[in-house]
Symmetry: C2
Subunit: 144 residues, 2 copies
């Protein structure tokens, strides 16, 4: 469904948000450990997220990553996905055709459109805060 990068991006953002709620700034290492991801690779993804303004990075000793409290309930999953995987999930043809659209649809175009639209709605109506709720009370997990 999503690329590995995107999966890590979502998990990392969720973890940072949980810690930000406790006013903790977290380091790259801590994040990688918490979401069980390769450190160096995670660094690149966090950079992408920081550049697009989804998370904030602070350099230097006692630096790390954080998210402004006011942003936690505003960041939508769709933003993270777009930042990392682009909008191919919404636009891409189910059968991989380059020019698949309403004018020249592939045989499964409309059936897939329905699914994709629902996926889009879901991603646009789910905020990072939604993800933190289950994590805080231990009902959901980021590892294993």
């Amino acid at each position: 469904m999503f690329s590995k990068s995107c999966e890590y991006g979502i998990k990392a953002t969720a973890y940072i948000a949980v810690q930000a709620k406790n006013s903790n700034r977290v380091s790259l290492k801590e994040i990688a450990k918490a979401i069980d991801s390769p450190v160096a690779f995670t660094a690149k993804i966090l950079q992408q997220l920081a550049r697009t303004g989804i998370i904030d990075s602070v350099q230097g000793a006692s630096g790390g990553f954080e998210i402004r409290h006011s942003q936690i309930n505003k960041i939508k999953l769709s933003q993270i996905v777009s930042a990392i995987d682009g909008d191919n999930i919404y636009k891409g043809c189910g059968l991989g055709l380059n020019a698949c659209n309403a004018k020249k649809p592939c045989p499964v175009h409309y059936k897939f459109q329905k699914i994709r639209d629902e996926l889009k709605d879901m991603l646009e109506s789910t905020t990072v805060e939604d993800l933190t709720l289950g994590l805080k009370n231990g009902h959901t997990y980021l590892k294993r």
Copy 2:
């Protein structure tokens, strides 16, 4: 969404079905040309589909691939997907966790489950015949 193999598999099956309705048996080359896919790679995928009984292959001169008329409206998209990609699409975790299930769900588990269930329903309720209809009257396409 699907692997390239799977995309080719669906397109090939649809094409073979259209031709089978006209009582034409089609060769590997013709199929590859019709769906704009690499010949050798397509051969492998057709082998898989033939082995699982979704399509029939006939060796020798004037051989090729075909589908029994009585099967065209019975073969479901889900069968093709399972034969090539397995059932990872239904089971796989949205965030790539190995052990993501109702007992230890990831933060997006239930939201994704809904989408996946709908995808499953769609694939199970769409037959190869459904795909052939648009192709025959020129409303849908397999190339470009």
